[in-house]
Every structure is written in C-alpha cells, then in structure tokens.
Symmetry: C2
Subunit: 232 residues, 2 copies
DNA sequence: GTCATCATGTAAGCCGTTACATGATTGC
DNA sequence: GCAATCATGTAACGGCTTACATGATGAC
C-alpha cells in the first residue's frame, strides 16, 4: 500500500491513459502522445522521464527491463534491400510492431492502483477542466473510460465555458476602435469558437441518444461520434 | 543609457504594445489585455507587476505617480500621439465611468528606448514565432507596427507552419485504430486548422494587394482585412 | 568510422500560477 | 460599517523547456 499523494497533472494522466491499453517504454510513450493523441506534442524528455519516475515512486506503474533481444529476429532489418522506409515505419508504428533489439529499455506497466487513480482523476477533472483547452482535449481523448453520465457532464461543462468565451469574443470583435488586424483576429477567433460549440452540440446529442437507449447502464463503448469527413 | 538586457517575453511585448498608444497604469493594462486583445486573458498580478518593474529597470518605461484626484479631472493621461483615439478609448472604457480618483496609482509611459526595443522585438519575432499560437496572435495584433514586408513574412511563416500541422492532423484523423472520441477530436482539429489556413490566405492576399499598390513604401495603415461577419 | 536514430536521464531556468499582504474609495 | 471594486505588490511553487550527459545499434 502506497499513500504517496500525487498531484496528477495532465501529463501523468495522459501517460496512465496510454498505459491503460498496453505496456510501453518511455520513448514510445512520447511518440504516441504526439502521433496518436496530438496532445503534448513533442513533450520533452526533461518532462517525460521525471513524470515516469514520479508515477513509479507513487506505485501507479511498475517497470521491467527489456534487455536487447536480438534473437527473436522480429523484423528483417538489414535484409530488405528495397529500402522502403515506409515498411519499417508502418511496422514500428502499427499493429505488427515487434520490439526490435535496441538498447535496454524500461517498460512501464500500469498497476491496479494506477488504474484506480486514473479513473478517479479522469472523472474528477471532467467536472473542472472545462476552462483548460488541453485539459478538455485530454479528457475527451479518454472519454471512453468515463461513465455516460460523466461524459455528458464533461461535454456540457465545456460547452458552457465556450459559450462564455464566445460572448467575450463577439464583444471584442464588435467593439469599435480596433485596427484591422486585431479585428480580423477577434472575428476569426469568435467564428472558431462558434464551430467548437456546434461540434460539441453534435457530440452531446449523440451522447444523449446513447443514454436513452440503455437507461442507467454504463456501457463502455456507446456511440460513434458524428462522422463527417473533410479529408480525401 | 541603460544596457540592461531583457529577454522580452510575450507579456513584455504586449505591455509595450499597449503603452505604444498611450500611457496606462497596471490595472488598466490588465483590463486591456483581456478585453481588447483577448491575449493573456486574466494575466495574474503576480506576473504583471514584476513584468512592469522589469521594464522600468530596463529603462523601457518610466513611471509617474498619479495621486488621488477626486475632482472630475477627465482623463489626465492623454498622451502626445494618438490623442483623439485615447479620448475615445478612455471614455468608452467604462460606460458611465469617468476615471475617478482611486488610490494613488503608477502610470507607465513608454520611452524612446522602449519604442525601439518594441519594434525590434516585434520584427525579430515575426520570423520565428510561427509555431507559437499566442506568439503569432500577439504579433498579428500589433502588425500595424510592422513593415508590409515583415507583415507578409509573419503571415506566410504562420501559414507554412499550419500546413505542417494540418498534415499531422489529417494523418491522425485518417489513421485507424482510434476510438470515436479521439477520432472526432482529431477530425475537428484538422478542420479548424484548415479554416485557419483559409483565413490566413485571405489576409495574405489583401496584404499582397497593398504591397503592389504602393511599391516599396512602408505605409503604417495599409488595408483592412477581409470583412466577412458571422455575428448579428 | 561516423552519422542518424533509439533510448534514458539530470540541471538550470523561464513563464506563469495561486496564495498572501496591504490599502483607498464608493455604494448600500 | 461593510462589501465590492480598484490598485499594487511579494513568496512560493508548478509545469514545461533547453541544454547537458551518456550510451547502444544499424546504416552508409
């Protein structure tokens, strides 16, 4: 039993969220933060490694040393003369990614205590993180681990905050005396916030449908978000 | 002559930018940062006052004590330039609210050295601040103090950065394996970036027109940005 | 044999926050 | 008289960055 109290900032939460699915080593955690979540883009090692140590000291994760395992021969590294970097990339990044022998690395695995803490913090923050852009994004990225009710609270809280923000922004854009650049900036910002709100409204709506379907049961994977594409 | 080297972070730049137009006291600077610029929303006094002291020590601003003057004394701080605007601003600052005597306050005025430093930093940063959202917003808000050329560089640099960001975001949104929430988030982010780019393209276009009009002359107030409204 | 990439860390510092401390003036 | 607002500051701390330090491996 560890009673170390941990502040649990955003980075810690994000790390536990990633480890919730599978064990990873530090370098790879950084890659996923960037490529998969898009949050904490290029977090520095000066933040990452101390965070991992902290989590370990707090007993929320445990580590095992993954010594260089060249013997498994998972990837024909030198053999391919095609020089297809894409193949390596895809392998490394995606599903078929076997741990190629590199330097010995520390593999982090979440503990039961870590899972508890993660869930608690995710729910606690959902109520209060509405005014923090990254905090909200982080919570939404892990929203599948929230109960339908908590999820709805998160979305509605965020919406309320954005409505306030929009009011301030339209006031600014509408007020006189600003030079063209500042005005254009303010106008663009208010339009962006409007779209954010519309987007949230869609999420909220489909969330409500999910709630009505199965009353008071907390299924983990309810309903796909609005699927409107804009890319080829 | 002061030779104190100052790092000149965003807040310092914003303060000098506001003081560029008229002298102000600390509390009012904070209000304008929030209400007029929308940047550094609710900057804390724990940041603001030390910043002002720093600027004063560096000789970029000077202070005078504005002792409590209970008599109506309308706007004692109409600076030399931008007079007509200053009056309007001060009047509208509080609808019925003449700047009545409060506690004695320190009024900050920018020095010649401060103006030089401001301009230099604004131009220097214009080349490099493209990857910093707030840094860019700040520069654009003061873009009227930039030469048309520097302004164009600022906008184009930002555009290039956003194009990179968009590539990463569409890759994320398009890639498989994400849960609905994360995917929706990624998609929404990429759409927002697309709009940012479109907006920048309009700004760049009208900036180019301004350049063509008066070749190689650097007029301070060139061309109003695209004026398309979305609010009542 | 040297460079790029993978991999893990520490130290110093910047930029901003909250909490604390003080005080004047206006309005109820 | 008391609360709200205006007004100026200091102290402590948090989160993240850059720069520094080390080392293995594979590619050229």
């Amino acid at each position: 039993m560890r009673y170390i109290i941990i502040t649990m900032n955003g980075l810690d939460l994000a790390i536990l969220g990633l480890l919730h699915e599978q064990e990873l080593h530090g370098y790879e955690i950084r890659r996923r933060l960037r490529d998969d979540l898009g949050l904490f883009a290029n977090i520095s090692f000066g933040s990452l490694y101390p965070a991992l140590s902290r989590l370990e000291r707090a007993g929320l994760v445990v580590t095992t040393i993954d010594e260089g395992r060249a013997g498994r021969a998972p990837i024909p590294l030198t053999g391919s003369l095609g020089g297809e970097r894409a193949v390596l990339r895809a392998r490394r990044a995606g599903v078929g990614r076997a741990p190629s022998s590199r330097r010995s690395r520390k593999v982090y695995r979440i503990t039961e205590s870590g899972r508890d803490q993660f869930t608690r913090m995710l729910e606690d923050g959902a109520a209060a993180s509405t005014d923090d852009d990254r905090g909200f994004g982080l919570r939404l990225a892990f929203a599948r681990h929230l109960s339908p009710r908590a999820r709805l609270r998160l979305l509605e809280g965020r919406r309320a905050h954005l409505a306030e923000r929009l009011a301030a922004e339209t006031a600014r854009a509408g007020g006189g005396g600003l030079d063209p650049y500042t005005r254009s900036l303010a106008q663009h910002a208010s339009e962006a916030t409007e779209r954010d709100i519309t987007w949230l409204d869609h999420l909220i709506e489909s969330e409500r449908l999910g709630l009505d379907d199965s009353t008071s049961s907390h299924v983990p994977a309810p309903d796909p978000a609005t699927t409107k594409g804009s890319n080829p």
